[in-house]
């Protein structure tokens, strides 16, 4: 099997043993990117020269015992809203087209300290606002399973890169489903960690109280290994927390016997696609067979998660994105006479339509006379939703449901109707409102061959249980890379293998 078809952990193992050189791995990955980027457009920036130079440095470091993590030498990608010193970090916006931060995000420092090789910055919805990666100023990313379809979003470039074999693993960010939903659409695995688990320092903020960085990879083990590298308290992020307990990587085994899993009744009504429903319920059946106690459950107030989410996220985003005013960095509209013109023209020209839309919603819901009815109410609804989860977790170790109501839609099908696009976040946003961890992993494909995502939601700091259950389920499935042509195995067919 080709090198680029390995899992990240397996590659790390072979690099450690000396069987594969770091440069060899990086070159193979860069070759794959060269071969496929035109087709999928997963990256905004590929760090070819930097990655090759880094490969030699890492190889030396591994030999000298400086890099000992399981992913030392493994090429990874990061979403382009994560700052990397001196490297263009755009948030897929014209506003930051040429922005080069003079600092690296905490997670980038951690990836570097662990000896991974960062290959490039992946495409996304502009400022992470969107569910399709179509709002990117740099053009859409295509779903490697079907290039007429979206990869999901906002971390669509990261999920597509992992699915297409353009990265072994990637970091995404998840504010309302932006790791889980593209992972589902691209048939890969992604974890949105408990709020505070991963430092947000250097993550360009969308909605500060909801944002969380997490891993996207080909399987649960890779995700766990990557999460292990990036988690931890950071004194530069006041909301990051100290976590106790064993490594995530050691949480893989043990199975689900005795675990109590609830299936929120409300998650299986309304606009849920029948094939998605069947696949998810079948997955629940598998877990039951493996020894879990699975039953239907109640989950209060989740119907109000989307309204509350869009109020809170837009309000915070409106404030967070006000700093893009043409003064300190980023785009400034040319030929402006006065200061007000600089502000208005810069922001109107520098932001795309979806961002502008959310800026307006954000300004409105906080404006004088509307605060209580919108923002105040949303924060109360948020509290009710959290309490609803608390009650559910008194009975269950985790909740199970779909990640998204459908499989990946066609390119261009979502943009005309923003509300419809927002409603697609129905299964993901409540998790962010309550700060919970959740994992999305493939649980089948629909008739068109498109991947379906299974979501497991854990109690605060319950990542280890999620990893154990997801791993248990994953082992029963054939793990597939995307359809023929996406991953070349040298035989002209789809690469397939059993899960490790």
């Amino acid at each position: 099997m080709k090198l680029t078809g390995l899992t990240a952990v397996e590659l790390g193992r072979r690099i450690k043993s000396g069987e594969i050189g770091v440069r060899e791995a990086v070159e193979a990955q860069l070759d794959a990117i060269s071969a496929k980027e035109d087709k999928y457009h997963c990256y905004i920036t590929v760090l070819r020269e930097e990655a090759l130079a880094r490969a030699d440095e890492v190889q030396k470091g591994i030999r000298e015992g400086r890099y000992t993590s399981p992913l030392a030498g493994v090429p990874v990608a990061v979403k382009d809203n994560i700052c990397m010193r001196g490297v263009r970090t755009t948030c897929a916006s014209k506003m930051l087209e040429e922005f080069r931060p003079p600092y690296s995000a905490a997670v980038v420092e951690k990836l570097e300290a662990a000896g991974t090789v960062i290959l490039g910055k992946t495409n996304m919805d502009e400022f992470a606002m969107g569910s399709t990666t179509e709002t990117s100023f740099f053009g859409e990313t295509k779903n490697p399973w079907d290039i007429t379809r979206v990869p999901g979003g906002s971390s669509g470039g990261a999920a597509a890169a992992v699915a297409a074999g353009e990265a072994f693993a990637a970091l995404g960010s998840d504010t309302g489903g932006s790791i889980r939903q593209p992972s589902a659409f691209c048939g890969v695995t992604g974890i949105k960690p408990t709020y505070g688990t991963v430092s947000r320092y250097g993550l360009i903020a969308y909605a500060s109280s909801l944002d969380q960085i997490g891993p996207i990879a080909r399987n649960v083990e890779d995700c766990a290994a990557l999460l292990e590298l990036i988690a931890g308290r950071d004194e530069r992020d006041s909301t990051s927390v100290t976590r106790e307990g064993p490594a995530f990587g050691s949480a893989l085994s043990g199975g689900v016997r005795g675990m109590r899993i609830g299936i929120p009744r409300g998650y299986f009504s309304g606009g849920l696609d029948a094939e998605v429903k069947d696949a998810v319920l079948a997955a629940a059946g598998v877990l039951q067979e493996q020894g879990a106690e699975v039953e239907e459950s109640e989950l209060e107030a989740v119907d109000y998660a989307i309204p509350a989410y869009y109020v809170i996220a837009s309000a915070e985003a409106g404030s967070n994105l006000s700093r893009y005013d043409g003064v300190k960095y980023g785009y400034r509209a040319p030929g402006c006479g006065g200061l007000q013109e600089v502000y208005k023209k810069t922001r109107s020209e520098g932001f795309g339509e979806e961002v502008r839309r959310r800026m307006l919603i954000g300004a409105f819901v906080l404006s004088s006379g509307y605060y209580d009815a919108y923002y105040g109410k949303a924060m109360k609804v948020r509290e009710v939703i959290r309490q609803g989860f608390d009650r559910a977790f008194e009975r269950y170790d985790m909740l199970l449901g779909p990640t998204a109501p459908t499989t990946a839609p066609k390119l261009g099908a979502s943009l005309g109707d923003p509300l419809k696009m927002y409603l697609g976040d129905i299964y993901t946003v409540a998790v962010n409102l309550a700060g919970l961890p959740a994992i999305s992993l493939p649980c089948g494909r629909d008739r068109a061959g498109l991947p379906i995502g299974l979501q497991l939601i854990g109690r605060p700091f319950g990542e280890r249980e999620l990893i154990r259950a997801a791993r248990s389920f994953e082992q029963t499935r054939q793990w597939r890379l995307p359809a023929a042509g996406c991953i070349s195995d040298g035989r002209g067919g789809a690469a397939e293998r059993e899960a490790v």
């Binding site: 809203n81 500060s208 909301t239 915070e316 700093r323 003064v327 200061l339 007000q340 004088s368 605060y371």
Partner: protein, 482 residues
């Protein structure tokens, strides 16, 4: 004309005397080339996050405790959103919903006796940057060095009724904050700035009139004049049948009038909401006790102690403690020279005179206690006389000279050689026979002339008492001889 009452409330911004900014590890040092005391956090670079400086909380609590406030056990920060080039994030991290201190007050002295001025709240926030107009290119230059310097805003109740009360309140507040060490309160450097909210109403009315706000007043004198000027303006408007518009006005101290600031293009709608990047601050009873225990001696206590412990008259004690700087210099000098009365005299008389001449405030006094103490010791030891010492003091005051070195280098030490003194005295008597005769004839005054002549010959370096004694002795001998 009707009888009007003036209603004044003050919003006082005080820069805290921390080493670093409120949310990052940048220095708060005043000055420096533009954009050198900043980092990605205080310039609002994308992806950066604030982390609260513990000392800011402790200073704010200390200020609250010293002004009788209730301390909010669980306080939070909020964002105040508006666009301006001096505000790099386009929001100021401040406190609206749960400020750290509330419901306090301080007492001021008025002509009618003591009066309590209520403090509505104290909240923590970050300062903005500095905008400088570049006349050559007709543009504005932005410097973020001050951006993120910690402030507390102390909001009074509308309890003041005159310029005198407003100034008395500010002076009292300034002393409290200076004694606490939470701020140096230098108005010239902008570390204490006051916004005046002022309205007038008919005497006896209980309803508040429409108020105007005058921002960033930076001297007591300007504040007093601004209150007077705005009061007059509002009364004139009302008397001529007009209405007061709620607005922000700028006080022009040169022209002694205020004028409306051009209203910002957009309505002021700050869209406050809780700051998601910072966690709540919980102030436990233990922490409160700890902060209270660290509270230094405040002015009133110090004044009493000066009277009791040092025997300083009440009037002098009040003056000395009326400036934290003066009090600090006094105490250190007294400790070094062991002579509090002398230390007090030098400061009360010479230092204040020189300050007055220089048009400076006691707060600006740059006098090293060690040098003053050395001078006092030199006078006590008879090395220099008082007249010379005053000269030396001036040199210390103006040029920070070392008194011992200065006296030595300029040969100002008194002549201690009794032989030389005797010789000089005899020569002076010989040169002034008439005065000698006058003295001997009973004219005491003539002795003064001879002392003066002797000192002149000695170029001021004689100990006048010793010279006096030697003259009497020599003249006495003349009598005996004749």
């Amino acid at each position: 004309m009707k009888n009007y009452e003036t209603v004044i409330g003050l919003e006082v911004h005080v820069e805290l005397a921390t080493k670093t900014k409120i949310f990052c590890g940048c220095t708060t040092q005043f000055g420096g080339p533009p954009n050198t005391h900043c980092c990605p956090v205080c310039t609002g670079m994308p992806g950066t996050l604030p982390v609260l400086n513990r000392r800011v909380v402790e200073f704010a609590v200390a200020a609250g405790l010293a002004t009788g406030c209730e301390i909010t056990g669980n306080c939070r920060f909020d964002r105040k959103n508006y666009f301006y080039p001096d505000l790099p994030k386009a929001y100021q991290i401040s406190q609206l919903y749960l400020p750290i201190c509330r419901n306090g007050g301080i007492e001021i002295e008025t002509e009618q006796g003591a009066k309590r001025i209520g403090i509505h709240e104290i909240h923590m926030e970050e300062d903005a940057g500095k905008l400088v107009h570049d006349p050559q290119e007709d543009c504005t230059l932005v410097d973020y060095n001050r951006c993120g310097v910690p402030l507390i805003e102390i909001v009074s109740d509308p309890d003041m009724r005159s310029a005198g009360e407003a100034v008395a309140y500010l002076e009292k507040l300034r002393l409290i904050l200076q004694y606490l060490g939470v701020s140096d309160c230098r108005m010239q450097e902008g570390s204490l700035r006051a916004d005046i909210n002022l309205s007038v109403r008919e005497a006896g009315s209980t309803q508040l009139g429409t108020r105007t706000e005058m921002k960033n007043m930076n001297s007591f004198r300007a504040i007093a004049r601004a209150v007077e000027g705005e009061r007059k303006r509002q009364i004139e408007v009302l008397e001529s049948g007009g209405r007061i518009v709620q607005e922000t006005r700028r006080w022009d101290d040169g022209r002694n009038t205020s004028f409306a600031m051009r209203s910002k293009e957009e309505a002021q709608d700050y869209r406050y909401f809780p700051e998601p990047d910072l966690v709540p601050v919980v102030i436990s009873e233990d922490w409160l006790r700890e902060i209270k225990a660290r509270e230094p001696e405040l002015r009133d206590a110090k004044m009493l102690r000066y009277e009791k412990e040092y025997g300083i008259p009440a009037y002098d004690a009040a003056i000395l403690t009326g400036s934290k700087r003066l009090a600090d210099i006094f105490e250190e000098t007294a400790a070094l020279c062991g002579n509090p009365k002398e230390a007090s005299n030098w400061l009360m008389v010479e230092a204040l005179r020189l300050l007055r001449e220089a048009g400076q405030e006691p707060e600006e006094l740059a006098l090293e206690p060690a040098k003053l103490a050395a001078l006092i010791r030199l006078v006590e030891a008879g090395t220099v006389n008082r007249t010379t010492a005053k000269e030396v003091f001036e040199k210390i005051f103006r040029e920070q000279v070392d008194p011992e070195v200065y006296i030595k280098e300029n040969g100002l030490a008194m002549v201690q050689d009794d032989g030389l003194l005797r010789e000089t005295v005899l020569r002076v008597i010989d040169a002034n026979p008439q005065s000698a005769a006058d003295f001997l004839g009973g004219k005491e005054k003539a002795l003064g002339f001879l002392v003066g002549q002797t000192m002149k010959v000695l170029r001021g370096k004689g100990n006048p008492e010793r010279v006096n004694a030697l003259l009497r002795e020599a003249l006495g001998q003349r009598t005996a001889e004749s």
